[in-house]
Symmetry: C2
Subunit: 652 residues, 2 copies
């Protein structure tokens, strides 16, 4: 491992684009004595020098115009890539078309959605989870990472998964219909942040597809978190969890020291990884960065599952999930270790597996470096062939200030966001390894691009597969400031699109998005074949025929079966009694693509959509007497306004 | 009034773009005997013939490429127009930039929003309204129409208003901060649909700005709707309401026959209008269209307010709002009439005031016509100078199948959507009047444009002001079908942008939007100067200084005052007891534009944002003991992940 010479912190960084945030960031850091630790950034490796103070971010704009023809679609022209995006604390899952940046769909999962009726229908409530009083257990969420299922090293279009950091939930999205079908709450976890599916089985070579999803826990807490051990923060711990891709049950958990951040998995299926900050188990942020180095944990999946099989686990609190011991103290012997920790400079952010399957790259965040870890050497350590796990680090090279996340182009280059520098740096991985090995003549930084502003996650088309194609790069900029028309204090995020098909990166478009997406994946459109119309028989409650529509009563429980066929609901009126518990089951018999209906019950807080051949149900107590015009809320027909069913609630 | 000769219904309409919907629509209509009523469409007035069966919608696409430079923005380039959009039954208010079609902001109003904490914070709950148990009264909404406040015939940037059809609510959006500040529920109204502010005072010429908002009720119900009069549907009635623009209280209501649809107001401030379908008071859709003609109601605002002043009103149920009688039977005498009804062909949809202040145009929906009503003649009728109110109709001309809404270019042309034809028709208003007067040589249809597909609302830049500039036309297409990458059964809407600066309309862009916007307005960006940072003193609960941060206790009620300053919350930990009612007051002391923080409490279902200098509060019962890492959910700083405050809940 080889380090660059340390230089003075540049005294003047306040070009226009950097003016305030760096100031704020450095002020915060300086107050904790970390500023000097960040001063290691050298520009020696800049292929293009950073702009002089006051200079405009010139490189991108003239070039953008030349590329406009490729990024902007004509009316009716289709995008060539899908993008699956997290929605941050809007709590949703989003589908974008690229390169246009069009937001095509929001899939509700953790938080209610009035359009879909997510959180209103019985079916969605069963997935979201309710309290004993029938209210939703949670209505907020904080989604960060979206990853999809793999087969043969590429996406197979079955599932995507997304995390909720606030309430430690994982949701699965079916990619045939683009709907959330399962949500699991991780036990004894707080701050569930990183998430990544495996790519093949660690043992069975026939299983070359995703069967597990790995989940990191960011916040260390007393275990169990039941009000005991409150004041013993040095004994707070976190759990790394494995969820079954099909059943969505938690298979096992690993007890670890420190806080998990991002997650990753190896293409050979053998290892899961998470970068860590706060290995100190600190409570205040200065404690969380008191140590000079943190780490990247590697989980030996086969050994962990063998240990579980052999009963070498405990359980925590009410949870039946087996928990194996992955703490440093219990894993010193490589021959039996379940977990290895590779040393990485302090408070790293992001770990990404290269598409050639060889490396994991941790970005330094508070260190201006990227750390390149060779997978084969980590496996060597587990196999007793490497005496020091830290020798798995094959490069630790300077990139710039605030490196966070890394993407790949499949041509050996990595692209890392520099949060404080508001830049993307393109660098060559093999060159960085040569440089780290002592060859000063190697220029590992290939290009730099100013972005607007403060980039977090980054991803390239197909970057997380074995088929990275080096065409498009998306950069999730956390601040948009002056990039859009002013719309008050709440700003959109700025998802910038960069053409990486040539030697130089070219910024081609700004795309505003509702805050705040974190991670996203981008893949070729031919990998998905979603269905546009449901199958009637997929819904247990579905009416078989519109003639079944009508009212049945069982005591004070009333079932109203309704059929929708544009422009009418059947029945067109129905009567219940005040106090009845009413269940409405609605089947949409229209078969034509895009012929969606909505169903609203005024004053009863009910609205939901039924897509072609879909069935949904709602249950409510008819506590208000009178006439209520249930109406179609989704424009469907020239007689849409007239498409109503009159609910008459007779007084008790 | 002059009618075109009736022709046979075209037997073959199934060009590719029309294939299914027209079939469905006509099937529905045919079943009720209306198809022949729609057969009156003639192509005589087509400037360009409709495409031959099977022909592609050719006109727009090649032309679009030529215009790409004007509609697609380079990175960092700003839009030139704001668009304010309803979000349909997503329940939100949206801000778009045009011509790019970028969605810049969603302003939550009627439905909760996990990002903002709308429905979570005490301040938002007070605006939304809660039930006795503290839960939100409503979590669904159906927004249709967005209109903004006027001054001197143009938008003045103070307010916008938006309706909720499901629960009869009107929300006001402040356009300085782009936030919802008030919501009012209209009493005794179901299906609140049309909405429009007045443009000046009907009496006081000094008040040349908006002071009232008019609201139509679509569903006729027993009044009061308390469980009585359920079976006397011929006596169901609707109310037209006037809301005070400043206080947001309901000033007065007018009892009317039939269903209101859209609303409009005259530039002279004297009249409000609503088009009506179902003047039959029918319950089933075939009853709702049994009469050959419905109408457009005109409300004489000054007379209505004089009647209220004189006590000539009743009240309904618990509501104290004065209700005057606007039924036909009570308003036969023009000298005293509060309301006039102009006859319009059956089930019209949409009424729009022309920017020259002279005409109201009703689109025919089930009739292939537009009806042009001259404002001066309606006023003549109220003044006793016109013997027959229907003589206010100066033209009733054929446009095509399913005309719904009309926009204007300020050069005398109107643009009407044809839902069934999937077209926009451009026609000249004065020419249509000449044609209606008998001049067969006049060609009033100027151009036709195929759109994709089934257009509903339409609007042009500045169209609803005296300063219509004829530059951009946006068309809200209800079906998008094959225009975007497939994303399952739920399709986005297709908001198409058309360049109307030349003689021919040119389709320049498809913009997907989450369903389902209805109406929208578009205006020049210089009309708004929103603020980017709040003022600390605007929030009564704001901490004056970060030093005020800390915990105070009053019995089991605990107040936790928290200050945010990147990258830290103060205090960085706080302790409460299980069972305490905890109120957190958070003031963001960061002053820099776009430096927003979030605040999440894991497992307690709390998350909200605080923008620069903003203060918000939440109240909850600390019913779960343990450690809860409250964390910043809105990426703010290099140490964002470390920005936490530890809440310790000691067991009871």
């Amino acid at each position: 491992m080889r380090k660059q010479e340390e230089k003075e912190l540049p005294t003047e960084l306040d070009t226009h684009r950097r003016k305030f945030l760096n100031t704020a960031a450095f002020a915060g850091l300086a107050g904790t004595g970390v500023a000097m630790g960040m001063a290691a950034c050298s520009d020696e490796q800049s292929a293009s020098a950073p702009p002089a103070p006051g200079a405009a971010p010139a490189a991108s704009q003239p070039a953008a115009a030349e590329h406009a023809g490729t990024v902007h679609l004509k009316p009716g022209e289709l995008d060539t890539y899908y993008g699956l995006w997290s929605g941050g604390h809007t709590g949703d899952f989003r589908v974008l078309g690229l390169p246009s940046g069009r937001e095509l769909l929001r899939v509700p999962c953790f938080t209610p959605d009035a359009l879909i009726g997510w959180g209103i229908t019985n079916e969605s409530k069963a997935i979201m989870g309710t309290r004993p009083d029938g209210q939703l257990e949670f209505t907020v969420g904080d989604t960060h990472h979206v990853h999809a299922s793999y087969k043969d090293g590429n996406y197979d279009g079955r599932y995507a998964w997304i995390n909720d950091k606030i309430n430690s939930r994982i949701a699965r999205i079916r990619l045939d219909y683009f709907i959330c079908d399962k949500i699991t709450k991780l036990p004894n976890v707080q701050g569930f942040h990183g998430i990544f599916p495996d790519k093949r089985d660690p043992v069975d070579p026939a299983i070359n597809y995703t069967t597990r999803v790995f989940c990191g826990a960011e916040f260390h807490i007393p275990l169990p978190n039941d009000g005991t051990g409150l004041d013993t923060s040095d004994q707070y711990r976190a759990l790394f969890s494995c969820v079954d891709a099909e059943t969505m049950e938690v298979r096992w958990q690993v007890l670890i020291d420190g806080n998990c951040d991002l997650a990753a998995s190896s293409f050979d299926g053998k290892l899961a990884a998470t970068n860590q900050y706060n290995t100190e188990n600190g409570v205040h942020y200065e404690d969380m960065m008191s140590a000079e180095r943190d780490g990247c944990l590697f989980f030996h999946v086969a050994r962990i599952e063998q240990a579980v099989k052999e009963g070498k686990f405990k359980t925590i609190g009410d949870s039946p999930v087996p928990v194996v011991d992955g703490t440093l103290a219990a894993n010193a012997d490589p021959a039996t270790a379940l977990v290895a920790r590779v040393s990485v400079p302090k408070n790293p952010h992001g770990v990404n597996a290269s598409p050639d399957g060889k490396y994991f790259i941790c970005a330094g965040k508070l260190s201006p470096t990227a750390t390149v870890i060779e997978l084969a050497k980590v496996l060597d350590w587990f196999d007793g062939k490497l005496d020091d796990i830290d020798k798995a680090v094959v490069a630790e090279v300077e990139l710039g200030l605030g490196p966070l996340h890394t993407a790949f182009d499949g041509r050996g280059n990595a692209y890392t966001t520099l949060f404080l520098d508001s830049q993307v740096v393109k660098w060559n991985v093999e060159a960085s390894i040569k440089f780290a090995a002592g060859d000063n003549t190697v220029q590992y930084v290939v290009d730099r691009l100013d972005v607007q502003y403060q980039p977090g996650h980054i991803n390239a088309s197909q970057s997380e597969t074995m088929f990275a194609d080096g065409k498009w790069l998306a950069v999730g900029c956390k601040f948009s400031k002056d990039r859009y028309l002013p719309i008050g204090p709440m700003h959109p995020e700025n998802e910038q699109l960069v053409d990486i098909s040539g030697d130089k990166m070219v910024l081609v478009a700004d795309h505003p998005v509702r805050p705040e997406p974190h991670d996203f994946i981008i893949f070729k459109r031919e990998l998905l074949q979603p269905k546009q119309v449901y199958a009637l028989e997929d819904f247990p409650l579905a009416l078989k025929d519109p003639a079944e529509a009508g009212v049945t009563r069982d005591g004070s429980k009333v079932t109203v079966k309704i059929a929708s066929q544009a422009p009418a609901f059947s029945p067109r009126e129905f009567t219940v009694k005040q106090g009845d518990e009413v269940t409405i089951i609605l089947t949409n018999f229209d078969k034509v693509e895009d012929l969606t209906h909505g169903f609203a019950v005024p004053n009863y807080n009910i609205n939901f959509v039924v897509n072609p051949q879909e069935t949904k149900s709602v249950t409510f107590v008819a506590d208000q007497p009178g006439v209520y015009w249930c109406y179609c809320t989704h424009f469907c027909h020239a007689l849409h306004l007239e498409m109503r069913s009159r609910m008459i609630v007779e007084p008790a």
